[in-house]
Subunit: 456 residues, 2 copies
Amino acid sequence: MISKQNINFFEKIIGKKNIYSDPGDCWSYGYDNSKFHELPEAVLFPKDKNQLKNIVEYCYKKKINIAPRGRGTGNTGGSVPLNKCIVISFERMDKIIKIDIKNHIAIVQPGVINKNLQDILNKKKFFWAPDPSSWAYSTVGGNIANNSAGPRAIKYGTPRENILGLEFISGKGEIHRTGVTTTKGVVGLDITRLLIGSEGILGIITEATLKIIPKINKIITIEICYKNFKDAIDMIIRVMSHEKIFPYSIEFIDSEASELINDLEKDYYPKKSNALLFQFEILDLKDTVSIEKIIKKLDRNSLRMKIAENINEQDKIWKARKSLSPALRKLGEYKVNEDVVVPVANLSTFLKRLKSMSKKYNVKIVNFGHAGNGNIHVNLIYPNEKEKNSTKAKMCLDEIFNLVLSLDGTLSGEHGIGIIKKDYIGKEIPKETLKLMKKIKDQFDPKNILNPGKSI
Amino acid sequence: MISKQNINFFEKIIGKKNIYSDPGDCWSYGYDNSKFHELPEAVLFPKDKNQLKNIVEYCYKKKINIAPRGRGTGNTGGSVPLNKCIVISFERMDKIIKIDIKNHIAIVQPGVINKNLQDILNKKKFFWAPDPSSWAYSTVGGNIANNSAGPRAIKYGTPRENILGLEFISGKGEIHRTGVTTTKGVVGLDITRLLIGSEGILGIITEATLKIIPKINKIITIEICYKNFKDAIDMIIRVMSHEKIFPYSIEFIDSEASELINDLEKDYYPKKSNALLFQFEILDLKDTVSIEKIIKKLDRNSLRMKIAENINEQDKIWKARKSLSPALRKLGEYKVNEDVVVPVANLSTFLKRLKSMSKKYNVKIVNFGHAGNGNIHVNLIYPNEKEKNSTKAKMCLDEIFNLVLSLDGTLSGEHGIGIIKKDYIGKEIPKETLKLMKKIKDQFDPKNILNPGKSI
């Protein structure tokens, strides 16, 4: 347990009110959405970067480990305080420092909730592109640390493409400013993007300069059902290669997933459908007509096509899609949820091989996700804890990862490595390159006090 | 001079035909577009990464410095072989390894000329976004090393946003593979983007996985002239904030520049115009009508507006713009050409202050550039070499850089640091952060043999 002396020091910096040291208070800062839990040594709520700098300098001196934490919505244990960490919570560093509409820039503290930012931007007819499904609860800092994105990444990119500059504190307590406040800049090494997606192991972000974009408010949704997944994937490829339509999002729901939805929402989809949901931004109604025309021309072998122009019709389509998560939960606790990516045109092979693996390992596999980026959430549904943790289940997961890599894919599209995938990172990243990454990490955090036990 | 023994070793690896050691042969590999020149110790033309790996391993052992070189089109001396370098030329590593239209990917060797790639992609109705003005001669590898972009960066981004993965050789001769072949991925540290824009000091790129995009072939150009530059900049801000039009490029030409064009092309622009050239991609002709309507609605105080729908009319507009470089050359040899960026809404203040500096230092200043990114090419025109190199000229440049930074700008948008701006990098990047960058560099290149004397 952390010493009274250390707590006293922290209290001097941030005040008694801004620190939890009672295990009862600390408990809920020990988990995220991964079901890992580890009790923090203490939870600190700094208000600004100067307080944080003092904290990190002290931790560096005393070798106290630090787990930075947004709102703990991650899926891989990235914010779980392994190895006797104090938690730095950004709940009280949640200010929007500046919104500069003319320059398309927002400057924020890391603790601001993505949705709160979007609500304010929305009033000014702007948005920040990253839209992870946790957006209503997760922080911008957490989104940056995990390079979290959502459906509209296909059109607008991930945090990597939507951050101009960062301020962060290294593991030695040094404040660094990187990047620019412009959309171009090539002065020095790109430390900004090195920090993005680094899961808190290089530095603690204290401020971010975000690129914001004028918002197109009208969207149409098109839902198309196919008997065969290959027809669905081929349709995605044709749509994405058509120069006159640029999807805002493309979601895929395989036949196992659509049947789960059908159970809840009686026969919503034709039996055993592989469904696609396309969204397109439109400037005015005539765009709807031309998109509709193109989509109908590109379609082959569909069972059904719904084109939703008004909000009611759209809500119906998305209601079905959104019932998928509760439906999965109904299937039970013993699910392994992966977040792999393969190049879009390799999705058919991927799904076909998953079908054989489902038989081979006798496990239900439910797939859905952001197919326009080739990002598929693969859910392995086991009947009980024992089977979920069995050697056979491990072999199955191993085979899935090997398959993903053999298809030029990557093990994580948006959830990151955290604790969960740490054993697998060596599959994707060559040994020498991993060694190089570790050496880079050493330059930022020589005593390895920042989020130890995560990522690389 | 390099020893016979070293030359013999290189000849064994790549063959006699693929190496220059005669100073006469080597001469033209000693300069770029910056007017720096340094004779290389030798010029090597490897054909593949394995040859290159052997070369770099040997250079690491013997501590022989290496300057990687695309086609020497850079503006800052980045490829000039300072410090007794051998030059690695990529002329014979210019293969397009794979074009995968379905997955929107091209895999290339670094020596491929940007234009050659675009010509092939164009036949398949695709393109790679980066379009530096040197695109007809410069290599993709060079574009990546400098994060070089051009007018359409405003819509499609720079190499940073258009590279998925890289293969490179470190200063120790290790081959590394980084990144992915998908548009999403968060496994390990983002070494890919760390390499982009690093000017060859971290590694020598041997292969790049590029994101390619379906091409919209129809473009309209709108030219608008303003009496006051403030009206021009205000128009840019309004256009960029309008959610229904998304410019493909926005070029700005100030009144000094437009007068130079008027000298060549008699009275092309209204006298002392500040001109804007907008390009918009259109899907069909009805888009022209709506863009025209919006632009006319947004315009205030223009002297003249030309809307060019067909290629002939567009060529006329661009012919004027393109005559600017020859016109500048006519003004004489003694010009300092800068490549700064400020946030778009700060451009008015920037231009105003440049006008006062022009008077204060008694120097003609001609400005033009990619104003949609806030990227302005500032040209200081001196009457002779002596004045160009005077203390006063240095003070003027210094004041310009201070001004740029005080307006939240950056010293280089697309040319990089190279040799020319090395003395100024400390103005923009804090000392501690620069030190961190140097430590990162050490992990890639512990003996400092890769492009020594450049960038950081």
